[in-house]
Structure formats: C-alpha cells, structure tokens
Point group: C2
Chain length 332, copies 2
DNA sequence: AAACGAGCTTGGAACGTTCCAAAACCCAGG
DNA sequence: CCTGGGTTTTGGAACGTTCCAAGCTCGTTT
C-alpha cells in the first residue's frame, strides 16, 4: 500500500485511519489523510468484502424494467437500503426463467448481503436454493411458497373485491372481468372477483375473459368482451389490460364511462395519462419495497422463521368509472 | 478448501479442474467434480476478482428507471454484454447529481470492468474522473465532453429536422415547437427545429414554448401553446410533452390530426398506446446500447483516443400527423 | 542404466484488505 | 530511574481464489 509508505506508517494504521477509528493519533491521521488524498487512493471493496464476509450490497432481481409497478417497488427498496447504509444493485432478467436464474446466480456470486426478487416467474425451487445462500425476500405473489423465502404481497382478492364493490355501488350488475394469463396474482384477482360477485348476488352475471400477452391478442380480447352481450362495467386484471379496453371502446364508439365503466389494477402512471383517467386499484409499492428491506435486515439479524406480509390495496377512483346507464346511482 | 480435502488433492488442482483445464487427469477430475457437487461448492467471485483484477461485470448507471428510453438502451447493453460473457448490473441514481455520483462510486468500488452512463445529469468533471478509473461510455448528449469518456448519441438536429420536413411536406407552415428545459438534447432539438424552419423559408412562423418538468406545468404550457395564435402543427421535445399536448387538445375540442398535427420524440411505448397513435422520432436505442458495449471493449483492449458516435434517428409516422387544414396535401 | 520428456500435481506467493495480539511509546507516580 | 497503565502503532495471519515455478511419476530414448 503506497499510502503507508508515503505517510511513513504501517498499512494497519492506514486502514484504521481511513475508517475513522479514533485510536489513531492526530499527527499520523493528518499525514495519512493527506497522503491518501495526494495519491488518489481508494480502498478496494473487493478485498474488504473478502475478509469481512459481507458486501453491504443488496441485490434486486426483476423481470421487467419497463414495468412501473416494479420500478416503484425498487424506489422503496432504495430508500430503506440507503438509510441503512446499503448499496442497491439491480439485475434484470426479462421474462425468461433461465436468464432470471443466471442473474440471480450473478448476484449471489457477488456475495450480496440480501436479495429482493420482484418477479413471480422464478422457479420456486431455485428461489429456495438461493435462500440457503443469502437472505431472500420475494415481492409479489409466489407460485408456491419456498421455504426460507419471505414474501411481501398485496391482497389481490381484497383489491378485486374493492373494485367490484365500487362498481356495484354505482349500480352496475353486468360486471365482467378481463383476466390475466394464469400468473398467481391474476388468479387471485379472478378469485376475488368471482367471490364478490357471488356475495353480491350477481353470480349470474359473472363473465371472465382472459387476455393475451402481446398487443394484438389484447386488442382481440378487449373487442370480444365488448361484443355481443356487452357488460356495463369491466374490472381489468391490470392497467395495461384496461388500456386495451379503453382503446377498443373508443374504436367501437362506446363512451367511457357513460356507456362502459372500466377499472384497472396497479395504478401505474398509465392510469394518470390515459383518457379518461383510469380508476385503478393501487398497491402500496413504496411500502412494499421498504418492508422487503426490513425483512432482509431481520434475516441478517438472525431470524429463522419465514414471514409472509400481505398489504391491503386501495381503490383510486378516477374518471373511467361512473353510474350504470339505466341506474339511479348508489343502490347498495 | 473442503473440496480439496474431500477429493484428496491440492487446492490448486481443484481450481484447475473447476475451470475445465485439460491438464487435469481423468481420475482426479472425476473425484473433484463429484466432491464439489456433493458439498454444493461455489467458487468465490470476490476472491477471483481480487487476484485477477477484473470482475467481468459491466455497470450501467441511469437516472430514470421509469423512462422506457433508458430501459431499451439497457436491453441493447445487456444483449451485447451477455454475448461477451459479461454480467450487467444497474445502479439507479434518480435525477439527483449527488445520488448519481454516489452510485457511480459504488460501481467503481466494485471494480466493474466498465461503466455505461445513461444520463446527462452527471457532472462532466465527475465523469472524467471516473474515466480515469475504468472505461466509461456515456449514452446521450453530454453537457460537455469529458476527456477519456466515449459517447453514443443520436443526432438531435437531424431528428428535429426530419420531423419539421415531414410536417412541411404535409402542407403545414405554422409549425411550433414545445421545447424542453435546457438539457443538452433538448437544446439541440430546438436548434434543429429553428434551422429547418429558416431553411424552409418558414422562419417567420418559428414559435418555441418551453415545457415544465411536472405535469401541471406541462399542461399549462400545452394549453398556452394552443391559445391565441394556434399553430397547425407542433413538434414536441419528447413523447411526454406530446402527450400533454394531445391531452390539452382533447380538452379544448381540437381534433388531432385534423385540427392539429403533433409529432413527438423518442418513440417510446407511449407513442403506441396513446390515442391517436403518435408520430415520433425514433432513436436506435438497441443499437446505441450495443455500440456502448463495443466502445467499452475497445477501451479494455487498449484504445486510448476518445470516440464520439452519432447515430441517425428515424421518423415513425403514425396517426397524430396529417395534412394541414387548408392545404391540398404535399406541396414540397 | 542414465537421461529425457510428457503428463499431472503441488506448494507457496500474490491480490488488498481487516483483525488481532503484541509491541512501542509516553507520561505520571513512586 | 523504574513501574504501571493508557494510548498508539505494528507485524503477521486470514479471507478464497489464481498464478507460477517446481516437483513427481511414468515410459521412452540414448
């Protein structure tokens, strides 16, 4: 270490001084700091991590950078991690199990101190295996619970329920559901939708149409839903699906919300840019991110039992939902 | 190293065997591999990087995760990095110089082999300093060139020019510009707009209105632009600005494109979701990402001179631009 | 029978830190 | 002038790899 030579002290003392240890004498500290400054010295994190056995890095693994839901969770993670002195690095796996696995492996190899997985695409077995090597929290509803992995999710059933109740309160009865493609969260929303329809005595009006993954499929699904027995309101599995629906409604000359009410899910920025502004179920994403970090810290602190946090979503009413055409407004 | 003991060989041989060196005898290799398998052994990347002096990691520093322009550049970076055997990790700085600096520092401390900066918010001096520690490529138009830093940008003047020519060809003369807030790219687009207007003899119709950063400011700027002397066409500094304009036009009952043509910039996914679909100038983002990696590799390979690549953008015509109201279509 | 070379294997140094026990220094008290 | 105790400083081990020069074990050549 050149700084040691430059300042005429041992490497040990340099190490102490640079870490701000107060056992270092005033004169020595002075010389060391100026020497380090002059030489532009930067301690090597790799070496430090090697000896300390930790990196002060939290890894975040996500499927989809373009998805604002994910990125807001990340914001929450970053906020808490910063406050605790951790650096956050993101690894991006796309919707590809293999790539996700590889990226997860990269993070673990880096010896990150914890991993937040924002994706339900990862194989539960892979997740469990990762949890044996480092604390792992999964944000979102898992396909199956993996032992050793904590989870933070929103209550999809409750979210769907709130949306259906809102629509029923506006007088709607023929409430349809533009559902997802079998991912865990979408299944739960579907379930919540069906249960609430039954609970309201609207079971007979239950109508579910799955939507595709790519834009053309989405458009077709939306158009079919608006076809023959058109519902007066639709709960979409997410904002993207709701958008496809709005688009299709516009194309077919169906006015929203006067001819059709639409409710989305996730309350992405999309909901606030689209016309008309979209009523949507909001997940507390920031809170979820912060919570994920707290769970990681608890694990590092020695907790062994698994925790599964479920947060309550909140309906944000905007312009895309209104009174049912024939109704007189509130009936419930 | 337990594997060595387990297989009854030296740690050196284990190291060789696991890296697939062909000098290792068949019997020993066999024993080592099964021992490693049984013990669930994973070599420690930190230690390897420490001795080899490189990490096979490329860092990407970005301002805004939520911006699809950025994330597509990232996709290009990842594609090329993967092909070259590098892992890509992202650090996210938000629009905050200090935070960006800290994140950059984190990446450098990790000893990444190269950094791609997708942000024009970073202080050029900080960038230059970073370039002294690792190869750095900046994607986007820099505030000022930093010695040692390569850049990859699109030709904003040319993009703005293409948009104006397109509108002029449709017969528009009163073409206004909803401009940005002084970032380098937006200044260049502004310049391209003005120059092209002059070139077409439309200098007298030049009208530039700056837009704000937050939604309410954007809305006001859009509304003012549509006020008194309403232009027949507008080039917006980016898709978000164009969106605000579309929104405002809708609110004031101005039909697009019949009463007003709008052209955006960046061709984000927004352009394909908004109604009407937005004509927009597309930057070759994937190519830019790939190019950034190539420049990094060249630096690692020993190149010393700086390179500044400028790519040509391409106008994507959609439904938001049409013939000028009074005109007969193509005039140019 | 000695020397050689090819194929495999090994021990120890090195990477740049932190950690720890021990050494050196200093000053006050006896 | 020695002793003790606190403060400051030090050398060497350790972290888990890779790298390198050197070693061993054969069978083959001279």
């Amino acid at each position: 270490m050149d700084v040691a030579a430059e300042a005429g002290v041992s490497k040990s003392l340099v190490s102490l001084a640079l870490r701000g240890d107060d056992r270092v004498g005033e004169a020595a500290r002075e010389r060391i700091l100026t020497a380090a400054e002059r030489l532009g010295y930067r301690s090597n994190t790799l070496a430090r991590s090697l000896v300390q056995g930790r990196t002060m890095i939290l890894g975040v693994l996500l499927t989809d950078l373009a998805n604002p839901y994910h990125t807001e969770v990340v914001a929450g993670v970053e906020e808490s991690a910063d406050a605790e002195g951790f650096t956050v690095l993101l690894a991006h796996g796309q919707r590809d199990r293999r790539r996700l696995g590889r990226q997860l492996e990269s993070l673990l190899q880096l010896n990150v101190d914890g991993v937040v997985v924002i994706s339900s695409w990862l194989d539960p077995a892979v997740l469990a295996e990762a949890a044996r090597r480092a604390p792992v929290v999964m944000v979102g509803r898992p396909t199956a619970f993996s032992p050793g992995v904590d989870t933070v999710a929103n209550d999809d059933e409750a979210g769907a329920r709130a949306a259906v109740l809102h629509l029923a309160e506006l007088g709607h009865e023929r409430i349809a559901h533009l559902s997802g493609t079998g991912r865990p969260a979408s299944r739960a929303r579907d379930e919540g939708y069906r249960a609430t329809m039954r609970e309201l005595g609207l079971g007979g009006h239950t109508a579910v149409r799955p939507i595709g993954d790519d834009p053309p499929q989405r458009a077709r699904a939306a158009s079919e839903l608006l076809g023959s027995a058109r519902p007066s309101a639709v709960l979409a599995v997410n904002d993207l699906a709701a958008l496809a629906l709005l688009d299709q409604a516009h194309a077919s000359g169906v006015p929203v919300p006067d001819g059709l009410s639409v409710v989305g899910y996730d309350n992405t920025t999309l909901a606030e840019t689209v016309r008309p502004r979209l009523t949507s179920v909001d997940q507390p994403r920031l809170v979820m991110g912060r919570l994920a970090v707290r769970l990681l810290l608890e694990r590092m602190g020695g907790r062994t039992g698994d925790r599964h946090e479920v947060l309550t979503p909140r309906l944000v009413v905007r312009a895309s939902s209104g009174p049912a055409p024939g109704g007189t407004g509130a009936t419930a």
